[in-house]
Symmetry: C2
Amino acid sequence: MKRPTIADVARRAGVSKGAVSYALNGQPGVSEATRRRIQAIAREIGFNPSSAARALSGASANAVGLTLCRPARVLGIEPFFMELISGVEATLSDRGYALTLQVVADPDAEIAVYRRWWGERRVDGVLVCDLRIDDRRVPVLEELGLPAVVIGGPGHSGGLANVWSDDAAALEEAVRYLIALGHRRIARVGGLAGLLHTEIRSAAFTVICERLGVADAVSVPSDYTGEEGARATRRLLSSADRPTAVIYDNDVMAVAGLSVAQEMGIVVPTDLSIVAWDDSPLCRLVHPPLTALGRDIPAYGAHAARRLLAAIAGEPVGPYQDETARLSPRGSTAPPRRPHPG
Amino acid sequence: MKRPTIADVARRAGVSKGAVSYALNGQPGVSEATRRRIQAIAREIGFNPSSAARALSGASANAVGLTLCRPARVLGIEPFFMELISGVEATLSDRGYALTLQVVADPDAEIAVYRRWWGERRVDGVLVCDLRIDDRRVPVLEELGLPAVVIGGPGHSGGLANVWSDDAAALEEAVRYLIALGHRRIARVGGLAGLLHTEIRSAAFTVICERLGVADAVSVPSDYTGEEGARATRRLLSSADRPTAVIYDNDVMAVAGLSVAQEMGIVVPTDLSIVAWDDSPLCRLVHPPLTALGRDIPAYGAHAARRLLAAIAGEPVGPYQDETARLSPRGSTAPPRRPHPG
DNA sequence: CTGAAAGCGCTTACAG
DNA sequence: CTGAAAGCGCTTACAG
């Protein structure tokens, strides 16, 4: 019932507390024989060093913080965050670090959490999601000196390290594929405005379509939710010269878009091709399964975590470009029934 | 850059560290005027008490642990966990508690994490998910003396507190509804075998169908994934006297089942009615939207967190029955096209 | 109402 | 190679 301390181990082993600390932490200062004996005793009585005491003397919390800025219902439906967290967590626990999670209402609350965490020495560093253009969190983090890795980019992370993926290149692959199938009226339903990757994709879509000679390229803003994705789709499909293909900025909106097409009697992929970002099991759950741009999100999270630990250790950490999303063609894309009259 | 400590506040205020501690923690021992002055100074220099130092003297980590036992890809797709976590976290952070998350591979790893967390005094208590029949985690937790609240029941949580919901009653509502619509051949695709609520639902399904005179009630086991849900559905719909209605143990399998029906040219709801457990935005994302049994999962998580904090505070905490899931009829259910010949 | 001091359980120079 | 001791930043009896 009473949890053993380092003093208990020292007493049983007949050595000082210092010796136990050296033995258990692999430091020089004890003979190999003594080390083994101490380790055996520690294991036997189930000793685990108090994380608080370690933190207090070692000045390291052995914990990393991650905030989530989404309402409960929205958080649940997007596979992205859980996959990211799962990769982050696996890397952290391998190295003995804990992951501390907090849900926040907005960027101000998030900044307050960072200040508190750092002040309380509760975390050694943080992972920052949903990077925005002119993100207010970046200068605060820099000023605090709180080690951080931004998930997103390229750029816009100030002096903080970041991990990112080339969305423009992935988007180009999708557009080229649709053009090769014969599509000329291509639309895009975008994610939350203000987020860096949304803006990057929006700009890239315009440029790519122009370069590849797609005259009727429209990009409509949305917010990642199924409701908004459905609404945007209804509007697009109700227009006079409706698109023959739509690219969605996430899986949830793409699935919602597919439902709207079915509801309107528009057959996918014959009458409408659909491409989703954020390939996930969700894309394979529906009928037809969705053609999607995907990459390994748990691995992305693992990269971010590894670099954060390096930053915490004081190593110089710069930007890191992760793999580019690849297109997985599935049943939701096909040549358009009637080629563009132009 | 240098983070302020209680000594800095004391120096600026011209009082002892003890006085600062009393003032900031709302303890008696300082005059109201002094308290205000100390609070103002603390705010001004951005003081936050070190959580490690508090933990070391106060013997409380001010943190709660939660383990997740699922592979990354599966974790992402199930809205349940994120919704639960979100409710848990909101309650905890309101009370100044942090949530520590760890992903584990199996029950043994999970037990090892509990032992370590408790030994390290990293958490004050844990929330236990996925309760099984004869769950090995329960006696370990009891033996350790680690405050815990089990999410699941009724029963099977030994001396540990738990929160649960009456699945048998919810299932009965769904079956009665299908019978009222005219269904007589009703099937069920179950969740992971061994989990308590799966077993409760399986037993209840048999009893309810018998009592209500549903002769052709089949229950097939599955595992919550879309793949298995699809496979089970294909088998059911390929049988000679295929069911006219299927109840799925979660939203993911129900959506997969809907896709299989579409793929096989079986029209929902005309030829087949579908009911899902775990109502979530996912159920409203597909076409037709799924009739589902749902309840407020974030609130469920909040209840569990509240009771865990009570248990940590040493208050007696017993079982708590949360609301029963309610049926939300949507487009996936209707009277069967051809009533049962019997 | 306030101050001085012990103690929480570690880590880490500093002597032997 | 090993022991004794200081110190991390709090909280909390214990005296004044």
